[in-house]
Symmetry: none
Subunit: 207 residues, 4 copies
Amino acid sequence: MKIDSIKLGKKRRGARRRERTRTDILNAARDVFAEHGYHEASIAEIAERADIAVGTFYLYFHDKDEAFETILDEGFEVTRSRVMEAIAAQEPDGATLSIVIHAILHHAYEQRALFRIALTGSKQLTQPSRVQHAIAEIIATILEDAHRQAALIGYDLPILTSLLTGMITQAIAWWFEHDTPDPDTMANQVIRILQHGLPAHVFTSQT
Amino acid sequence: MKIDSIKLGKKRRGARRRERTRTDILNAARDVFAEHGYHEASIAEIAERADIAVGTFYLYFHDKDEAFETILDEGFEVTRSRVMEAIAAQEPDGATLSIVIHAILHHAYEQRALFRIALTGSKQLTQPSRVQHAIAEIIATILEDAHRQAALIGYDLPILTSLLTGMITQAIAWWFEHDTPDPDTMANQVIRILQHGLPAHVFTSQT
Amino acid sequence: MKIDSIKLGKKRRGARRRERTRTDILNAARDVFAEHGYHEASIAEIAERADIAVGTFYLYFHDKDEAFETILDEGFEVTRSRVMEAIAAQEPDGATLSIVIHAILHHAYEQRALFRIALTGSKQLTQPSRVQHAIAEIIATILEDAHRQAALIGYDLPILTSLLTGMITQAIAWWFEHDTPDPDTMANQVIRILQHGLPAHVFTSQT
Amino acid sequence: MKIDSIKLGKKRRGARRRERTRTDILNAARDVFAEHGYHEASIAEIAERADIAVGTFYLYFHDKDEAFETILDEGFEVTRSRVMEAIAAQEPDGATLSIVIHAILHHAYEQRALFRIALTGSKQLTQPSRVQHAIAEIIATILEDAHRQAALIGYDLPILTSLLTGMITQAIAWWFEHDTPDPDTMANQVIRILQHGLPAHVFTSQT
DNA sequence: AATGAATGAGGATTCATTCAT
DNA sequence: AATGAATGAATCCTCATTCAT
């Protein structure tokens, strides 16, 4: 029994260590990708920041690509679940668009580095930015509900979803260059537009 | 005099030729950047498509970067002037937001390659804003007018501009993956949102 | 005394175990070398097939090279003794070339993996001779006898030995790509050439 | 006309230069491969010996492999044609085995580096040594003639070809470690065996 | 002006070997 | 004795840029 527990201890320690190294690498990689973008990020720099040898990187990730993908995948998994939790906590009966927008912007504000990578450090051209996809999915669920209730007649649902996503994405990107406003204020700006629209004035001739 | 005019002729011919080569390179480069993105685009391929030698490229552009910048700069200069012309033609008294959105989307639809480069093939991280900047500027003029007339109380003007730009940009990006709808339909979707907002329904609890 | 015997038992068991592990590694290594060749064989794969940790490999062999050398050395020691036994069993008075060739090809046919390593997976350039050397030695003893009896006048003994070795080696290499003929048939082909030579016909002009 | 000839001159000079560089690389590569074998040969060393930059290597060969293949391909093409010429010169009516063996060994002696690469510096395991193939082809033509005339009853033709090839190959390999004997003497040793066979003595019990 | 061969720094990836546990 | 995570030197290959012609 003693032996068992010791062995178990060892195993746990090994696993813990392995996990810690993996996290170190992922954090370092996220920073480097965020700073330089996919192409200009070098494994050497990631390794240095994670305080490991170059070769160690390859013990945890098959190649540069896999690390990149992992950051996005795991990052957005966290995003999705956090946002979902926030929504569920506030409005158990069903999410409203306002709550969703607030939740997304709150989380995005805290995870700027991740969003920066996803929005600008892309590896491929065709990636319509995985962020957009993640955001779009969340928004889609709400709009689909509304659509089912025939509340969105006149709108093409996929396009509407995409356009809202574009707006929210832009709100997030705003923070790449500015530090204010805070997420709530930003969310209110977005919601205001979506709720009331702009004054008729701007759509007609301006004399 | 005769000699002079000959020289002049030569000069002119030389200049015309130079101009043609420059355009060839720019066209080839735009295609290659659009196909592969900044990083994967090689000078060799650009040169081949422009039917010139690699070295010749460097007689016209200082480096890869300069060609890239030139494409965006000249491209958006054209965009701006075309859109402005379109607006002026339709509504001499002053543009309305509807007209601007229609004009922008029309032009963008025709210049997909350019917009694709600007939106996805960026060289640096902070760059996706090149298109956005161009679009934002046009929109800003209209919103500023409205703002001056106190019609936009409650909105932060720069942020509002940015958000609208995000929506329009997203509409353009939609065409990177889909061929429909046509620019007018797309513009109408955008305008519908901005004019009426979404039904109150989606902002409140959904029972 | 009791303690002693226990210790002894332990020691023996330890030694036996050590021996078994060593053999496991050697077997795994032989397979991997045979499959991939020296350079493409990785310690990691050898360790995996031997069901040990990478580090353990280095407890038994100083480096990749030593394992490789050991395989060849021990392999050919076995070859030599088996062949010698076979000869002694058949012809106690002294071996004949026929018997030797039969014996060598029989053994080689069964030990293809080893011979494949020795002939094609070599580490260094000057090495293809390891097998050759082993074969040559056996053949040399016979030829030297004959030479002593002045039966090989006109032949340079070392060269003759080498040439016969080349022929036999080639016979073995034949099996790297073909499964037939069986060792006896193959041996008879070799012997036929060495016994009668080729018809005079092929050495003169062919009208 | 003057312009034409100048242009032509330029073209020729360029082509000549290109050809020279290619040859330089091939020569350097042949040496390095011969010294270190395929795997240990580094492009850097080849480039240095050819007195070019690393990148230049890749202007002429797609990768290490292609250079290696080219050396063998071109090398054996030369071998074949030289040997064929030699044969044709001596015996217009049809080659005899003696002449072929002399010719092969003569050429091989002069091209030791090439043969060393082909025989020992192989890249893949399955390569039954392209040399062998080249030699085998030449020998096959002669033996097939004889076979057609039913002079080789009792022999399996492909195996016989292979065995002779093995012998000749071994003769060439001999020179990797020794400088003597000269090609003619060596050829005579080979021919002597093939013509008369070994004394019956060595095949029977040796009392 | 045009050419295109040459350059060489830069970066990804591998794997034999070590060593703390 | 055994483990297997960590190391980092070594090597291939790319491509923007230069420059002799």
